[in-house]
Amino acid sequence: MLVTNLAILVLAGFVGYAVISKVPNTLHTPLMSGTNAIHGIVVLGAIIVLGSGVGGWLSKLLLVIAVAFGTINVVGGFLVTDRMLGMFKAKREEPKQEAGE
C-alpha cells in the first residue's frame, strides 16, 4: 500500500510540474488561487476521520473546525478564481456594468 501510494505521489508530482511549467504571467494569480482551491481537498480527510467515528468532544470539535476550514478553502477558492477569471476578456466589446465594490 505504501509503495503504491508513493508511486502515485511521485507521478502526481511530475504531472503537476508538466502542467504548470508554461504559464503566462497574466494568469499567475488565478492559477495560484485555483491550485489553492484544489488543496482544499483536505476536507475529504476531515470528513473521513469524522465520519468513521471519533469519541470525545474535543476531537469532534477539532474535526468540525477542520471540515469548516476545508470547506472554506474549497468553496471560497473556486468562487474567487471564477470571479477573477470571469473578468478576463479577449476583445473589447461594449463595456458591461462594472462589478460592485
Binding site: 504531472v15 482551491a37 484544489i38 473521513i48 471540515v67 468553496v75
Partner: protein
C-alpha cells in the same frame, strides 16, 4: 440494496476518485491559457464535487453525519460571502487566508489522528511519519498564511519584523524542536503534550518565518505556503490511504513550487534568500544621493500630463501597487479610452511582480475591462520603450528602478525591470517621495526625462481625464 452495494463498492469509489483527479489535471491545464481558464476552473470544481460524493459513499463512514453537515454549512456560510465580496485589490490576502485554513485543516486532522489512535499506537510507522509531517507543515502554513494576510491587510506592519541576527538561530531551533517532538512520538511516546508541542512550535515557526519578510516578497511567500499546504495534503492522503488527496495535494505541491520559482526568478531572488528575510529592511539612502550630488525632481500638473500624452503617438502605462491601493483601475481605463479616441496607441507594461502578487495588475485591469491583448509582458514591453513617447508610471516604483541594471551594490541589482527610462519622457504618479516597498531610492525620479505628478493615483488620473476631455 443492490444499488447501495454497488455504490459502496470500493472499486466504484476508486473509479470516482480517478475521474475526480483526471478532472483536476484537465482543469488545471485549462487554467494555463486565458481562453480556457474559466472552464478549466469549473472543470476542477466539478472534479472536487465528484471527490466529495465519492468520499460520502465510503462504507466506513457511518457516524457524526450531523457534525459533518454542521462543518460544511459553517464553511459555506463563511467562504461564499467572503469570496463574493472581496475586492479585486484584496485578492492576494484572500488567497493567503484560504490557503491558511487549508493548512489549518491538515494540522487539526493530524492532531485528531493522534488522539484517536492513542498516540499512533498500532499504527504503521510510515503512517505516523506522514501524519506528523502533515501536522508540522500544515501548522506552519496556517500561521504563516495568517501573518501574510495580516501584513497585506495592514493589520500587521508590512515592514520586516525581525529578531536580527538571532532570527535564523531561532527558526532552526523551532524547527528542530518540532521535529524532536515528532521523533519522540514516532519513537513510541504517547503523551498528548508532544503533539500539542509539535503544533505550537510549528505555529511559532510559521510566525517567525513570515514576520521578517517584507511586503514586497509576500507574493512569493504565499505561493510557497500554497505549495506547502499541497504537500501536507498529500502527506495526509498517504496517512489516510486516500488516492484523491495524494494526487490533488501533490499536484498543488509540485505546481506551487514551480510557480514560486517563476516568481522568485522574476525578482531575481532565490527562495532561500527570501525565506531568510530582511529584504525590505535593507534601507539605503533616502532623498539625498549617496554620491554627494543634490538631486532634484521636476513636478508637473495634470494639465501638462494630459497635453503631453494626447500629442504622443504611443503611450505605455506601467501600473503598480499604488494603482491597486487607490482603486484607480477604472479611472485608468477611462483615461485610456479617451487617449485612444485621440488616436494615441496605448499599451500596458506589466512587470511579473508588479503589485503584491504576480498577475495582480492583470486581474485589476481585467476587472476594468481592459482587453488582455493590450497588456504586454515585460520582455515584449521592454522591446518597445524605444519607440514610446510617454511612459506613465502609476504607483509603481521598484520595478522601474534603473539601479537594478546599473548599481551593483543595490539590494535589487540584477532584478529585471521595465526600462521606462528608454522612452521619450516619463510621468510618474506617486503619492510622495517615499521610497517603494523595498525601501530603496529610485534614480528614475531624478532623471531629466521624468516629471512627477504627486497625489493619490485615482484622483490624479481623474484630473488627467478631465483635462483630456477639455482638450
Amino acid at each position: 440494496m443492490i444499488l447501495a452495494t454497488f455504490l459502496q463498492d470500493p472499486n466504484f469509489i476508486r473509479v470516482l476518485y480517478i475521474i475526480a483527479f483526471g478532472l483536476f489535471i484537465y482543469g488545471l491545464s485549462g487554467l494555463t491559457g486565458p481562453r480556457t481558464a474559466v472552464r478549466g476552473n469549473q472543470i476542477a470544481a466539478v472534479g472536487m464535487g465528484i471527490a466529495v460524493i465519492a468520499t460520502l459513499l465510503l462504507p466506513e463512514l457511518g457516524s457524526n453525519w450531523v457534525l459533518i453537515i454542521v462543518g460544511v454549512v459553517i464553511g459555506t456560510i463563511v467562504g461564499v460571502p467572503a469570496a463574493r465580496q472581496v475586492k479585486m485589490t484584496q485578492m492576494p490576502q484572500m488567497v493567503a487566508l484560504f490557503n491558511g485554513v487549508g493548512g489549518g485543516a491538515v494540522a487539526l486532522i493530524a492532531w485528531v489522528e493522534f488522539r484517536r489512535s492513542g498516540g499512533y499506537q498500532d499504527t504503521a510507522t510510515y503512517v505516523t511519519i506522514f501524519s506528523l509531517f502533515a501536522a508540522i507543515v500544515g501548522s506552519v502554513s496556517f500561521w504563516g498564511s495568517n501573518i501574510a494576510f495580516g501584513k497585506l491587510q495592514e493589520i500587521i506592519p508590512g515592514r520586516p519584523i525581525t529578531l536580527g541576527r538571532a532570527q535564523q538561530f531561532v527558526n532552526i531551533a523551532l524547527l528542530a524542536g518540532a521535529v524532536a517532538c515528532g521523533v519522540a512520538i514516532a519513537g513510541g511516546s504517547h503523551a498528548e503534550i508532544l503533539i500539542i508541542g509539535l503544533l505550537v512550535l510549528a505555529a511559532l515557526l510559521g510566525n517567525a518565518v513570515v514576520l521578517p519578510i517584507g511586503g514586497a516578497d509576500m507574493p512569493v511567500v504565499i505561493s510557497l505556503l500554497n505549495a506547502f499546504t499541497g504537500l501536507s495534503a498529500a502527506a495526509t492522503g498517504v496517512a489516510l490511504n486516500n488516492t484523491a488527496l495524494i494526487v490533488a495535494g501533490m499536484i498543488v505541491g509540485a505546481s506551487g513550487t514551480i510557480l514560486t520559482n517563476l516568481m522568485a526568478e522574476a525578482m531575481n531572488r532565490s527562495i532561500p534568500a527570501i525565506v531568510r528575510g530582511g529584504f525590505g529592511g535593507v534601507v539605503t539612502a533616502g532623498g539625498t544621493g549617496d554620491d554627494g550630488v543634490e538631486k532634484t525632481v521636476r513636478s508637473t500638473s495634470a494639465a501638462d500630463a494630459a497635453i503631453q500624452m494626447s500629442y504622443a503617438n504611443r503611450v505605455v502605462i506601467v501600473p503598480g501597487y499604488g494603482m491597486a491601493v487607490a482603486q484607480a483601475q477604472h479611472a485608468v481605463r477611462e483615461m485610456t479610452k479617451l487617449l485612444e479616441a485621440k488616436g494615441v496607441e496605448v499599451a500596458f507594461a506589466i512587470h511579473p511582480v508588479a503589485g503584491r502578487m504576480p498577475g495582480h495588475m492583470n486581474v485589476l485591469l481585467a476587472e476594468a475591462d481592459v482587453p488582455y491583448d493590450q497588456l504586454k509582458e515585460m520582455d515584449d514591453a521592454n522591446g518597445e520603450f524605444g519607440r514610446t513617447d510617454v511612459s506613465l508610471v502609476i504607483g509603481a516604483n521598484d520595478v522601474t528602478n534603473p539601479d537594478a541594471r546599473e548599481k551593483q551594490d543595490s539590494p535589487i541589482y540584477g532584478m529585471p525591470i521595465l526600462n521606462v527610462d528608454e522612452s521619450g519622457s516619463v510621468i510618474v504618479l506617486k503619492r510622495s517621495m517615499n521610497s517603494g516597498f523595498a525601501g530603496i531610492d529610485n534614480p528614475l525620479f531624478y532623471n531629466e526625462k521624468t516629471a512627477m505628478l504627486f497625489g493619490d493615483a485615482k484622483s490624479s488620473v481623474n484630473e488627467i481625464t478631465e483635462e483630456l476631455k477639455a482638450l
